[in-house]
């Protein structure tokens, strides 16, 4: 299935947000995830299913003034 991840089209086998985060070797503790422009809390990543054409943003807090 094709999704848009952080602005780029991606072919993925991941069926859930949790699987996608794991497949991309991201540390869940540092991540803020938007699924089709809605924030998805980490507690529900495991049962938030991905669908063809979904837009996912993986964000994190960084240093800034």
């Amino acid at each position: 299935m094709k999704i848009k991840l952080n602005g780029e089209m991606l072919e993925t086998d991941a069926l859930t947000i949790h699987a996608l985060v794991t497949a991309r070797n991201q540390d869940p503790a540092t991540l803020v995830v938007e699924h089709n422009h809605t924030l998805v809390r980490q507690t529900v990543w495991d049962h938030t299913r991905l669908q063809e054409g979904d837009t996912i943003e993986l964000l994190s807090f960084v240093g800034g003034g």
């Binding site: 952080n6 991309r24 924030l39 809390r41 964000l59 960084v62 240093g63 003034g65």
Partner: protein, 257 residues
């Protein structure tokens, strides 16, 4: 009487706000906060670079008693700023938001028009809105009308260490504002922070000058002392300058004939 800074429904003892940008190591942030006594610190939100090695989580360096002030840096429009603010709150960062909308990429000066629009929207959503703006009396008044918790005029461009280039306009905002005035951006030395506080600013926000000092922990302490000194001087009500000398000892000769 305890001298506190009130922002929204919260009270703070420290009038020095700090930032998490540009530290050589994030491990310095905790000791800097301890040394400076700062109770509010900014963070930014960014897309993860999926090709870079995993990064340190900045939030783990900030103790629980310190209030997070996420900024909307990277936003070019009010709409983007509102989106960032909502994400930050949803992600558990609390109700404080520094609204920063920049369309001038040469000097990184804030876009007051978009900032006001974002402030209006977010104040209605019960955020504690701290907007970073070009010093302007009218925008200051409109931000008050919009429900902002403070107004944050810049001293000089971000990271420039040029101090209070906007001094006269900041003074006018201090003289007229009905909400706290926090001088944000460009403060490069403790003496400049003290100067802002002597003028009657309610607080200052310092990031670059602390983070890029050789010893950020010591710099944090120095800024803390300067802010306290400036605040005390303001409260003491210092006399103004005079062209004429005014003798501080009696003008009679030592031994009068």
């Amino acid at each position: 009487m305890t001298d506190t800074l009130t922002l929204g429904n919260r009270q703070f003892f420290s009038r020095l706000l700090t930032g998490t940008g540009k530290f050589a190591s994030n491990d310095l942030i905790g000791p800097m906060l301890a040394a400076s006594g700062s109770e509010i610190i900014t963070v930014a939100l960014r897309r993860v670079d999926l090709n870079a090695p995993p990064r340190d989580n900045i939030l783990t360096h900030i103790p629980d008693h310190v209030t997070l002030l996420p900024n909307t840096s990277g936003a070019r429009t009010a709409k983007e700023a509102v989106r960032i603010a909502r994400i930050a709150r949803e992600a558990g960062c609390g109700d404080f938001i520094k609204i920063e909308v920049i369309t001038d990429m040469q000097y990184l000066l804030p876009d007051n028009h978009e900032t006001l629009k974002a402030s209006e929207t977010l104040a209605k959503e019960d955020f504690i809105v701290l907007p970073y703006v070009m010093p302007d009396i009218t925008i200051s008044r409109r931000l008050y009308d919009a429900g902002a918790a403070a107004v944050m005029p810049l001293g000089s461009p971000i990271g420039s260490n040029r101090g209070l280039e906007m001094k006269s306009m900041i003074q006018r905002i201090i003289d007229t504002s009905r909400i706290p005035v926090i001088v944000d951006a460009g403060i490069g030395r403790p003496s400049q922070a003290a100067e802002a506080m002597e003028m009657g600013a309610d607080a200052v926000l310092v990031n670059t000058a602390i983070a890029t000092a050789k010893d950020p922990v010591q710099a944090g302490r120095a800024f803390s002392l300067a802010v306290s000194a400036g605040r005390m001087a303001y409260q003491a009500g210092m006399a103004g300058p005079s062209h004429q000398a005014r003798a501080s000892s009696p003008l009679t000769g030592f031994l009068q004939e």
